[in-house]
């Protein structure tokens, strides 16, 4: 018999080992799945995990796709630690793209070094403003932030649509729903030759580092933890619940806004009706896979980004339909989440005792 036993404290060894265990389990069950569907398991797995990272361009793509996930994941993790449920990062991302992109379009013909900083300010402010609505309603009227932030995502997407189909439409664009291409001063050039990787990845990593230091060393980082764990104790200690709600939502909104700007000023280069394939939602998974820790978020973002790119490669190289790659990705996430168990608990063999318990 095996008995489940809580560890006195999380196991460091398991913390490092479980991701590998999860990937191993995914590989084994994935191979079974592919074989069952009549595919060569080795070719499929190679396409999923190896091809995407076996070239400089591929690594650049990985960083490009991970950048928004890291930025948003860091912001959301801070909120989730304090029990603030911002589900609407996608909408905040869109607002960041709208505001930052709006500046780029307004100063379309201006080629000055201040254009881009102004776009950054506008994007962060836009994301924050969108997150401030649930923050305001939550702190003033106790309106649940899950509903408000989620509903505002749909509104944000429609707002962007109204703009690119309407006033911001490219006058030379044959009335298609897209803005002008941004000017040189408003674009983020690649930082590595031969890739599309832009400076956003450096910003994302810097934000992760700062979040780590903030969380570990400063009082306000500590506050978040306490408020999340025990509201009563936090009140007693004089920490303001309201301030926490505002702080985390503005942080999450601002970072999501920044992520939105990096998408439109980086690889897209203009405003289009769809600026994100759902990064704001995927980042929620990333935050939890990373166990709400900045370093974990960075690693989780890279892994999740790989699973998306791997899904495309598997379609191209192994001819797998997208449905299979979705199932496979779900399995990977399930295993990652399930093996977390081993960090906090252990299985102990126990001698079976006869008697009252045996019945």
């Amino acid at each position: 018999m095996l008995r489940i036993e809580a560890r006195p404290e999380p196991s460091r060894r398991m913390l490092l080992a479980t991701p590998f265990l999860a990937v191993l389990l995914t590989v084994v069950s994935g191979a079974l799945l592919f074989a069952l569907l009549g595919r060569d398991p080795l070719v499929s797995l190679h396409a999923f995990f190896v091809t995407p990272v076996s070239s400089l361009y591929g690594l650049g793509e990985l960083g490009l796709k991970a950048t928004p996930l890291i930025l948003i994941g860091i912001g959301l993790a801070a909120g989730f630690r304090a029990n603030v449920w911002n589900i609407g990062a996608e909408g905040q991302l869109v607002l960041g793209a709208v505001c930052g992109g709006g500046v780029a379009l307004w100063f379309w013909e201006v080629d000055a070094p201040w254009v881009f900083p102004l776009m950054v300010v506008a994007a962060v402010a836009g994301g924050m403003a969108w997150a401030a609505i649930p923050a305001f309603l939550k702190t003033r009227l106790e309106v649940n932030e899950i509903l408000v932030s989620l509903m505002l995502t749909y509104v944000a997407v429609l707002l962007l649509s109204a703009l690119v189909y309407g006033p911001w439409k490219d006058p030379e664009g044959f009335n298609f729903p897209q803005s002008r291409m941004f000017g040189e001063a408003a674009l983020m050039p690649p930082v590595v030759e031969g890739t599309r990787l832009h400076a956003g990845i450096l910003v994302a990593l810097a934000v992760a580092l700062a979040a780590w230091l903030w969380q570990a060393r400063t009082l306000s980082g500590f506050t978040l933890k306490v408020v999340g764990l025990a509201p009563a104790a936090a009140r007693f200690a004089g920490f303001e619940r309201r301030r926490t709600v505002w702080l985390t939502l503005l942080l999450g909104g601002g970072l999501a806004g920044l992520a939105g700007l990096f998408e439109v000023a980086g690889p897209i280069g203009q405003l289009v009706p769809q600026v994100s394939p759902g990064y704001g939602f995927t980042a929620i998974i990333v935050a939890f896979l990373g166990r709400l820790h900045p370093v974990g978020v960075v690693l989780a973002a890279l892994l999740v980004a790989l699973s998306y790119i791997g899904g495309e490669t598997a379609q191209i190289e192994a001819g797998l339909p997208q449905a299979v790659t979705g199932v496979f990705q779900g399995m990977l996430l399930f295993f990652l989440l399930a093996t977390d168990f081993l960090i906090r608990y252990r299985l102990r063999p126990v001698a079976r005792r006869r008697g009252a318990e045996g019945r």
Binding site: Y165, N175, Q178, P267, P273, P277, Q315, P321
Partner: protein, 359 residues
Amino acid sequence: MTLKTTRRTLLAGAAATGALALPGSRLLATEQVKAGWVYVGPIGDHGWTYTHDQGRLDVEKALGDKVVTTYVENVAEGPDAERVIRQLAASGNDIIFATSFGFMNPVIRVAKQFPKVKFEHATGYKTAPNVAVYNARFHEGRTVIGTIAGRLSKSGIVGYIASFPIPEVVMGINAFTLAMRKRRPDAQIKVVWVNSWYDPGKEADAAKALIDQGADIITQHTDSPAPLQVAEERGVSGFGQASDMRKFAPNAQLTAIVDHWGPYYVERVKAVLEGTWKSHIIWHGLKEGMVQIAPYGPRVPEEVRAEADAVKQGIIDGTLHPFAGPIRDQAGELRVPEGQSLSDEELLKMDWYVEGVQA
């Protein structure tokens, strides 16, 4: 499940023959083309993407082991599209079909990096020596169905379910309205925008709302057969979109505008095989068979069939122009005087509605 496996096996078989041919004889290898498709939706949408995938299957059928096809579905318009297109080019595809307007700028960027690969972009306007553009004159089909509606509507009110106000959709609404009002000068076309290409529930709701407002004919520029199903149930009539949707509405479907990409795809892949591929912009319609009219439904009487056929023939001969003057806009202003007609260039960026449209 069974159907799926069959189709997959077929594909796997084609891939296997390709792989076998490669090492054995160099001659065969050069006589084989790899063709890739990039889809914006799932191939199971039974609409836009579905019809393109039918075209891909036509290529496989027509060219047998001379071609190996690959596709990637559900590719988001944005940074992901560029990566997918690039990967298809890098993995040895000789010709790549990108089947959504939003793929235009990514195609142009990748095409610069892969001058030897041929690219084909649907519905756009940017070309390059190795980028061709193809599009279908869907509005010609709208002229035919508008003719039928003008003869068969009793209330004179038609419900038009539209996706997004891009020129293609605007043109369609206008062509339909002009043809209908030629037979029924008091006809009123009520347009409802569902802000989605693809949401069966919402499309059905829009159809119900329009029928409740007195529409006795429903037509749509969205992808799913849901509006036709509603028409069948409510005893009104409608037109199929993108493919023949008779199965969903055996009585209600008067006819359907069918997108037929297969012949063009076969022709272009063949051109690559024979080394005769050249860049071009083509806009094919009823004449070339890229747009087709499905068999008429039981509710279309003989004389109306004859009139619709005459209109179709007129467009094919060039004796009938769907946008021949006089054309007045919604405000009643004369936009195209008698004896003139709108040029292709004017059509391709159309953003105004003709008299009789309520949008």
